[in-house]
């Protein structure tokens, strides 16, 4: 496999797809600079520099997708989807239903997401739970290069709209551009494990709606995604030395969600811990708990999530994110007395 991190694997998948499919155009702020290779290869008619007008260019991409193109829209960060939310929520996601299933919007929205580098609360959000709550969208978040390639390749052959979030901590180009910014004086806790998710072919398609089992275990099922998978694996290694056996499930596709994989694992362990970099309330963690209840299971349950607006200061951000210490404590508590992480009142 060529040496690719998650971001470069994503870039590669886009490049390969653009070479195959002339209908693909890429639209984004600074696209010529950020995607210089694609810009030089495919030219300004297929790689379009957008003004800072997310509402306009995501809305226009929807129209273009309806009329025969296959746009890839890049946002600088998923936080900025707020500016363009109408296009996604009310148009892109609803077209299929509104047209009686006749018309779909083959569009890929690529957006970097997540924190761990101190960029403040408008530039560090996950938001995948919010996006995955919308019927009509597919929402995927890779945690490995192979999944980044495979999910992107699948998305660019999918007939409906796909939101693909790219964890910035796992994509060297983003971390360098937004966190390091040319400095050698800052450090980031980038996961070092070379876990490829058990995927032998780094250029294979990855289907939507299939979780990946990253580690087998018998005591606790940890469901996570993105950076959380790596933090969970690290916690699982520590916990195994303490005699707690954790199974780590990388959800990677939030909508559709692999309910069967979650249920099968929780049926085995009887304990469920959701590690989610998104907000705790009304989101993915509650959804995963609910689906086990719907399947007739009554697992001991805990969750390690983001509970308030992410603070800017690195040490405060680290504490607010699902770090290894929080995961370890929550899993250990589940095994010890079933209570999991105690839940304080949510902060504003």
């Amino acid at each position: 496999m060529p040496e690719m991190d998650l971001g470069k694997a994503l870039d590669r998948a886009i490049d390969d797809a653009m070479a195959r499919d002339d209908a693909i155009v890429l639209i984004g702020e600074d696209a010529p600079m950020l995607r210089g290779g694609l810009f030089a290869r495919y030219g300004p008619e297929r790689v379009l520099a957008a003004p800072i007008s997310e509402g306009a260019f995501l809305g226009a991409a929807a129209g273009a997708a309806m009329a025969g193109l296959r746009p890839i829209v890049e946002l600088y960060m998923v936080d900025f989807v707020a500016v363009a939310f109408d296009a996604l929520l009310n148009h892109i996601a609803k077209l299929e239903t509104f047209s009686g299933g006749d018309w779909r919007c083959p569009l890929l929205l690529r957006a970097p997401c997540g924190g761990w580098y101190g960029d403040g609360g408008q530039h560090s959000q996950a938001l995948w739970g919010t996006l995955a709550s919308i019927p009509g969208l597919t929402v995927v978040v890779p945690s490995t290069p192979a999944d980044a390639y495979g999910l992107t390749a699948t998305a660019l052959e999918h007939e409906g709209p796909v939101v693909l979030l790219e964890p910035k901590l796992l994509a060297a180009d983003w971390l360098n551009a937004l966190g390091r910014c040319g400095r050698d004086s800052v450090r980031f806790d980038v996961p070092q494990d070379d876990d490829d998710g058990g995927n032998d072919d780094p250029l294979a398609r990855v289907p939507f709606g299939r979780a990946a089992l990253r580690r087998e275990g018998s005591d606790v099922t940890i469901c996570s995604l993105a950076v959380g998978v790596h933090r969970s694996l690290e916690a699982a290694r520590v916990l195994s030395e303490e005699g707690v056996s954790c199974e780590v499930l990388d959800l990677r596709s939030l909508r559709p969600l692999d309910r069967e994989a979650v249920v099968a694992s929780v049926r085995k362990t009887g304990r469920l811990l959701v590690v989610d970099e998104d907000y705790r309330e009304c989101g993915l963690s509650g959804e995963v708990a609910a689906l086990t209840l719907e399947a007739g299971l009554r697992p001991r349950f805990a969750r390690v999530c983001v509970e308030g607006t992410l603070p800017y200061a690195r040490h405060l951000e680290e504490a607010a994110l699902p770090n290894v210490g929080r995961i370890r404590a929550a899993a250990a508590a589940l095994v010890a007395d079933g209570s999991g992480e105690t839940a304080p009142a949510p902060r504003a």
């Binding site: 600074d30 290779g37 290869r41 003004p51 500016v83 403040g120 400095r183």
Partner: protein, 342 residues
């Protein structure tokens, strides 16, 4: 206000930005850092007019205006250092600085300063007659829907809002004129705004024009748009990838250059002509970035002000010394504060 006083505000804002840059380079400040170097004449020329009760709505490049507004410098630096004693308890960071006593708010969302400014102006109109709001924005943000919508809203409601469009020619790493149709002043004029254009490097001109426009607003007239051109001296943010590529193509910009070369040479894709267009576009951007004014060059607003002082036989050295002492004390106080990342 005398030129020397305006220069003092500019020098103070500049020294603050450079102190932040120094701390950032040491790794003591996390994340992105958008300096306002080059905008000091606009900040000083506009913000020195503000009174108690006036609102100030700002962007990710907010620190020069906040410094001029009188927000404590050590508290702002402490915030950037992530200290509990920072302006926002270490929770906001440099893009999210808020000072309630100054009715001053910033945002990391491009374009958001306009609607917030309109809201400050609405509150002034209802609660504080004669008071007003100023929203600073960049020219790149004027293509954001909420900015264009505010051009309509503030005029329709006849709000006492001054939008100062600080035009440095760049929307992140994209030349603004390549993604912007028409003229920004004409846009505002079409919505019924009073529009003025000014050389944003010349603090006395900015001060005079802003004074006239703000006087209209205090008298209850509708919104005004001040289009001020100025240089961007330190890129979109420190470590700007475009500037890295331009100034260090074989070092920090190497991977980017390689991507372009390899993309242009890979089989499959656009025609030779299409590829040539792409490469030519990138070369033009890089040339324009290379030719942009540098700090302390003739196009630097501080140099413009120093020259004007010199013509009047006024010395800036004493002001510089006093400002440096103030900033050094602020840095020391910020670093000495308990806790934080530093």
């Amino acid at each position: 206000m005398e030129l020397a006083q305006l220069y003092q505000q500019m020098a103070r804002a500049r020294a603050f930005e450079l102190a932040a840059k120094d701390l950032w380079e040491q790794g003591l400040i996390a994340g992105e850092m958008h300096l306002g170097t080059g905008e000091e004449a606009v900040a000083a020329g506009v913000v020195t007019h503000l009174e108690d009760g006036d609102g100030l709505s700002l962007t990710h490049r907010c620190t020069p205006a906040l410094a001029v507004r009188g927000v404590p410098l050590a508290a702002m630096l402490s915030e950037m250092l992530g200290k509990p004693g920072g302006l926002c308890g270490g929770r906001g960071g440099h893009m999210h600085l808020f000072s309630r006593p100054h009715l001053a708010a910033s945002s990391g969302i491009v374009g958001a300063s306009l609607p917030t400014g309109a809201g400050f102006a609405l509150a002034a109109k209802r609660l504080r007659r004669g008071k007003l709001a100023v929203a600073l924005t960049g020219e790149g943000a004027m293509n954001q829907g909420m900015a264009l919508e505010t051009l309509n809203l503030a005029a329709a409601w006849s709000l006492p809002l001054l939008v100062v469009c600080i035009d440095n020619g760049w929307a992140i790493t994209t030349r603004s004129d390549t993604v912007t149709a028409g003229k920004l002043g004409e846009r505002a004029r079409a919505f019924g705004w009073k529009v003025k254009t000014v050389d944003g490097r010349d603090v006395e001109s900015v001060y005079a024009v802003a004074g006239t426009l703000l006087g209209r607003l205090r008298a209850g007239k509708g919104p005004a748009f001040l289009h001020a051109t100025c240089p961007r001296l330190d890129g979109h943010f420190l470590g700007d990838p475009l500037l890295q590529t331009v100034h260090d193509p074989l070092g920090k910009g190497r991977a980017r250059v390689q991507r372009v070369v390899s993309g242009a040479a890979t089989r499959g894709g656009g025609s030779i002509g299409t590829r040539a267009l792409g490469v030519a576009h990138l070369m033009t951007s890089m040339t324009q970035a290379r030719l942009a004014p540098q700090r302390d060059s003739r196009g630097d607003p501080l140099q413009v002000a120093r020259k004007a002082l010199g013509k009047r036989r006024q010395d800036h050295a004493a002001i510089d010394t006093q400002v440096q002492e103030e900033i050094r004390a602020a840095v020391d106080a910020a670093l000495a504060g308990e806790g934080g990342d530093a």
